[in-house]
Symmetry: D2
Subunit: 347 residues, 4 copies
Amino acid sequence: MENKKIPVGVLGATGSVGQKFIQLLEGHPYFEVTELAASERSAGKLYKDAVNWILSTPIPENVANKTVKECKPNLDVKVVFSGLDSSVAGEVETEFAKKGYTVISNSKNHRTDSDVPLLVPEINADHLELIKSQKYNGGAIVTNPNCSTIGLVLALKPLIDNFGIEAVNVVTMQALSGAGYPGVSSLDIIDNVIPFIGGEESKLESEPQKIFGKYSGGIIEHLGIKISAQCNRVQVIDGHTECVQVKFKNKPTIEQIKKAWAEFKGEPQKYNLPFAPIQPLHYFEEDRYPQPRIHRNIDKGMATSIGRLRECPLFDYKFVILSHNTNRGAAGGALLCGELMKAKGLI
Amino acid sequence: MENKKIPVGVLGATGSVGQKFIQLLEGHPYFEVTELAASERSAGKLYKDAVNWILSTPIPENVANKTVKECKPNLDVKVVFSGLDSSVAGEVETEFAKKGYTVISNSKNHRTDSDVPLLVPEINADHLELIKSQKYNGGAIVTNPNCSTIGLVLALKPLIDNFGIEAVNVVTMQALSGAGYPGVSSLDIIDNVIPFIGGEESKLESEPQKIFGKYSGGIIEHLGIKISAQCNRVQVIDGHTECVQVKFKNKPTIEQIKKAWAEFKGEPQKYNLPFAPIQPLHYFEEDRYPQPRIHRNIDKGMATSIGRLRECPLFDYKFVILSHNTNRGAAGGALLCGELMKAKGLI
Amino acid sequence: MENKKIPVGVLGATGSVGQKFIQLLEGHPYFEVTELAASERSAGKLYKDAVNWILSTPIPENVANKTVKECKPNLDVKVVFSGLDSSVAGEVETEFAKKGYTVISNSKNHRTDSDVPLLVPEINADHLELIKSQKYNGGAIVTNPNCSTIGLVLALKPLIDNFGIEAVNVVTMQALSGAGYPGVSSLDIIDNVIPFIGGEESKLESEPQKIFGKYSGGIIEHLGIKISAQCNRVQVIDGHTECVQVKFKNKPTIEQIKKAWAEFKGEPQKYNLPFAPIQPLHYFEEDRYPQPRIHRNIDKGMATSIGRLRECPLFDYKFVILSHNTNRGAAGGALLCGELMKAKGLI
Amino acid sequence: MENKKIPVGVLGATGSVGQKFIQLLEGHPYFEVTELAASERSAGKLYKDAVNWILSTPIPENVANKTVKECKPNLDVKVVFSGLDSSVAGEVETEFAKKGYTVISNSKNHRTDSDVPLLVPEINADHLELIKSQKYNGGAIVTNPNCSTIGLVLALKPLIDNFGIEAVNVVTMQALSGAGYPGVSSLDIIDNVIPFIGGEESKLESEPQKIFGKYSGGIIEHLGIKISAQCNRVQVIDGHTECVQVKFKNKPTIEQIKKAWAEFKGEPQKYNLPFAPIQPLHYFEEDRYPQPRIHRNIDKGMATSIGRLRECPLFDYKFVILSHNTNRGAAGGALLCGELMKAKGLI
C-alpha cells in the first residue's frame, strides 16, 4: 500500500485549473491521474485533442492519450480533484460525493457549506473533522480558498496566533491567470488596470473568517475580525500582490512580527508533504520586494512572500504579500489538501 | 496687451515633463514658449537635436529649431515653467526667483517651503496670497503637487467641504510615465508589479495637509486629517489609479457624495481657463470603471474619474479614482496654475 | 440636398468594427447614423444597453439611446456600413444589396467577388465602375481590404506607378485590435509573440493583386507580382508594423523612392474628403521609426508611416511601414470609401 | 582531476550577462565560480552589495559574499567567462588572454578576429583549432555568436549539410533581455514595436558566414550565402522569434527538412555535455507555435524550437524559429563552449 499510488480523477480536466492539476500531478509520489472528466463537448476525445493546453510545459505523456469522460460519478477512482467551473461545480461535486467519492475542489460552490472544510493545511487541518458530519455516504467534499485569500491568511495566521488581530484592510493587484482562460481580453488589460473583479471582494472579506474559525463539536465558529477588501486586475500573468494593513489586539514590534513569520510552520511541514513549502513565509528586506515575476515561484510556487513591513498612520502596520495564484492559490493548494488527507489516512 | 501672448520659458525643456510643457503650450491662448533651458549637455544645440522626444505628437515646429540655453536666470522672459529634475530644481528655481522670475514648478523641492503655495487651482486658489510673503525681489515660486496627490485631493475636496473627513486610506497603482524617461526598465515591470516608489508615500500622506490648509495671515495652517498611503508601480503608461477609503466626520449617503462630486467646481471653471476641465470630477456607475486607458484623457486629461463608491466595513466608504499623471498630475497641472495666475493678474 | 446629411445604418453595430464606425461617424459632415443593426440578441435593446463599448471616447449621445434592430433589409436608410462578422456578413450583405441598399463593407466575404470593388480610394477609385456590373437592382456592395493589406498597398502604389515592382516580401507584427473583441486572450500575448494569424497571409498575398489590377471592360485584371507574407501577432493595441522588401522592375535610388512617397496623392486628397489623410505617406528619417504607439494616429489614423528605407542583399530595398489597423485598416478605410462614393455621386 | 571542478572567473559579473553566468554556473559539474570581476565602481564590494540582481532565482550563496575584484588579469583562475560590455570587452579580454587566461566571451569585440573561433559547439567544434594560431602565450579567446544568430544557425545547419542553401531571409522579433539591463525603457516598448536594433542586422547577416565557414590551414573560409536580416524589438522578456525564408541549392521536401531537423545532433550531444540540449531542434506541428513564453525554456533554454514550415512564393520555404536569447543566446551558449573545451582537453 505504501508503494502504490492512489489513482485520482480530475474534474474539469480541460480547463485552466484542470490543466494545472494535471501538470502538478505529473510524477507525484502519492497520486496518479487515471481518469479525466470534462464537459460533454470534450467527452470521448483524447485529452490532447480535447484540450487547448496553455501551460508552458508539455502535456504529460501518460495523460495526453487518455480518453476524456463526462463528469458523471462513474469514474474508476475514489478521489477526484475538481477544477470545475462554478456554473456547474456545485451540483456535479455533490453528485460525486453522494456516490462515495472524495472531492477536493478548487471551486467556490461548497466553500460556504457549514459541513465543508475550507482548508488551508498550514492553518486549519483540524477542520477536516467536519467531514465526519457530512451526509455523503462515505463520500466527502473538501474545498480550498479563493486565490486572493490564500496568501493573506497564511501571512495572517502567525499574527493572529501570537498577537491577535482586530482588523485587516487589503487591496489586491491580481494576476490574469486568476480569471481562467481565455479570461481577460488583451484589449482590456494592456496599458490598463481593471479596478473590479466580480465577487472577489466579498470572498476575501468572508473566507478568512471561516478559515480562522474554531472547530468545536461539528461546527466552525467563524472568527469575527473586520476585513475590508478592494480587488484589482493588473497586467501580470501569475502572482497576486496584496497591500495589507493590520490592527492588532496586542501591537507587536516589527521584529516580533518578522520572527513570527520566520518561525511559522504547519502540518504540511511536519508531515513533509510533497507540495508543502519548506518555509511557508519568506520575508524580504528590500524595499522593492516582493514582486510577482521574481518571487512567485519560490518553493514550488507554494510559499508566500512578504515585504515592506512598516508602521501605518491608520492601522498598526502595513506590508505587502505575494502569492502564486494558480499554484498555491488553486491547483497546488488543493493538491496540498489532498496530500494532507492522505497523510492523515482520510483517503 | 489682451491680445499679446505672454512669452514663457521652460526649464528642463528636454526632460519628460519639459516635453509635456512644450506639447501642451503649443497654440496656447495665453502663453508662448520663447525660451528653452536645459542641462549644459543640451545647451547650445537646437532643441530637436538636443531632445529625445518621446511624446506621440511631433515637436511643435516653432520650438524644434530654437536653441537650448543653460538654466541660468538670463532668459528673455518673466515666467518660467519648471520641469527640472529634483536633483537641481531647488537651487536653480531659487536663483530664477531671486532674479525676479515667476517660477511655476512641477518639482518637489519647494513644495514644502512655508511661503510657497502648493497650488491646486480648484482647491486653494487663495494660497496664492503666500507669494506676497516671498522674499524674492518681485520673483515668485509656485508649485503644483505630486502626480499621485492631485487626483486624490480633487476627489476629496467637495467631501471635506460638505461632510468633513477624519481619515483617508489610499493605495495607488501608478503609471510608468510618472517615473520620467527612461525611468522604469521594461525588464522590471513587464508581467510584474513593483510595490514601492521611493518617497511617494510620504508625499501622498503630507501634501494634502498643506493643500487643504487654511490660509491666514501669511501662513498655511495644515489640515490635520490622518492619511495612510501605499504606492505601487504597475504596467500602465499614463494614468494613476487609486483605491481610496474615507472616514467622515458626518457620514453622508452615497447619493450625497455623488451629488457633491457632480456639483464641484472651482476658480478655473469660473474663469473658464483654457486647461480647466469643464467638469473636474466624473463619476461612473459601471463597476469596472474608471480605467486608465479608457478615462485618462477625459477633458484634456485634466479631469478626475471616480467609480465604485460603496460602503466599507472599516471606514465609511471606499471608491476608486483615476487621474492622468502627466497632464493633470504634472505639466498640465502646472500650466493651469499659470493660467490662474494670469487670470488673477499675478503674471 | 447639399446641406443635408445622408442617413446611414451600421450593420454589426455592437461589434468592435461597428463601434469604430459609430465613433468615427460622430459629427461627420456627410453622414449621420440613424439606424443600428446587430444580432438577434441585441435587437430591441437600446444601443447603450446592448453594446459592451470598448473605445476610449464615450458613446455618441445621439446613438446611445437608439434602439438596435435586427440585420434585416428593412432599415430606413439607403446606405449601410457593415462591420459584420464574416460568419454572417456574406449572406446579410447580399440580402441588403438585393433590396437596393448600398453596402460598404469591412468584411472579407465579398472582397473576392469579381464584380465587387476592393477599394482603396487613393489607389483604384476607378474600380467603382464595377458597381455597374453588379446584379443588385440598384443596390451595390463595395469592400475595403484587410487591415494588414491597406498600409502595404498605399506604400507600394507610387513605387509601382513610378518604377514597377516584381516581388514583395512582407513580415507583419500586427496589433491585437485586429482580432476584434474579446479577441486575443491576455494570457496568450503578454510576454509573447504568436507567429500565426488564421487566413491572414493568403489575404495579404492576394488582395494587392486585385487592388492594383487594371479595370477594363467590366473586369479587373489582377496584377501579377509575387508576394510572400508572414503574419505575427504582437502585444500592441493598435497599429500594424510591417517589414517590407521590394524587388523593382527598374531599380530607383533611395531619393527617388522618398520623392515618390512624398508626392503621392490620390482622389481623396483631390476631393479633400473629410477622412482623407492630408498626406497619405509620411517618411521618417530616424532609424527607430515608425513605431505604432508614436505614429499610428497621424492624420486621423489614416496616413501610413514609413521608415528605414535601405538597400537589401536579397531584394533591392527594405523598409518598415506602420498603419492604424482599425482606423485606416477597418472602419476609417470603409468610411473613406463612402466619402469617395458620395463625392462621385454614387450615393 | 576528474573529481575536481575547474575554478573560473566571471568578467562583468554584475551585468545582466554576468548574472546569468553566475546563475547557470551554480552547482555546475565542471566549473566553480571562484573569482568575480567588474568595473571599478563595484570592485571591493561584496557581490550581493555590488549587484542589482535581476534574475528570478536568488544569488547563489557561495557567490553572494565574495568580494568583487577589478577586471585586471590577476585573478586566481585560468579560465574566465566574459559578459563584459562591448565598450570595454575588447581591450580587457585581450589583456587577459595575453596573460595566459582562456577567455570565453559573449561580447562581440573579438568575434570577427580571424584567429578567434565564433563557436557554436553543435556546428563548428573544429574551429577550436584556431586557438593554436592565437598569439597569446598560452592564453586564448573564444567567442559565441550574437543572440539573434544562434537560433538561426542551429536551424540552418542540418539544411546546409543536407541540401545546400543559397539565400536566407530573416526578420526577427527580439526579446528585451537582449538589450541588457536597464536596457529598453518601459515607455519605449509597452503597446509598441521598435523596428530597429543598432548593429544587429549586420551581425545577423555576417556571423553565420564565419560560423558555417570551413576551417583549413589555420584559416576560416567564410561561407558565401546571401543573408538579409531585419531586426525588431518587441514586448517579450526572453526569447527571440524569427521568421525565416530559405532558398535551397537542392530543394528538399517538407518531410526531408523535418527529418533533417529531428536527426540533428552535434558534439555537445555526443559528449553529453551538461548544458547540451538533449535534442537541439524541436519541430512543432501546431500552426500557432513556437511561442517565446511557451517554448523558450525547453531543454534548459538551450534548444531551438521551430514551426510553421511551409512553401514560400518567393523563396523555397518559410518557417519560424524561437531561441532563448540569454540562455542559449548568451551565457548558456558561452558556457557550452567552455564545456566543449573541457571535454576536448583544451582547458
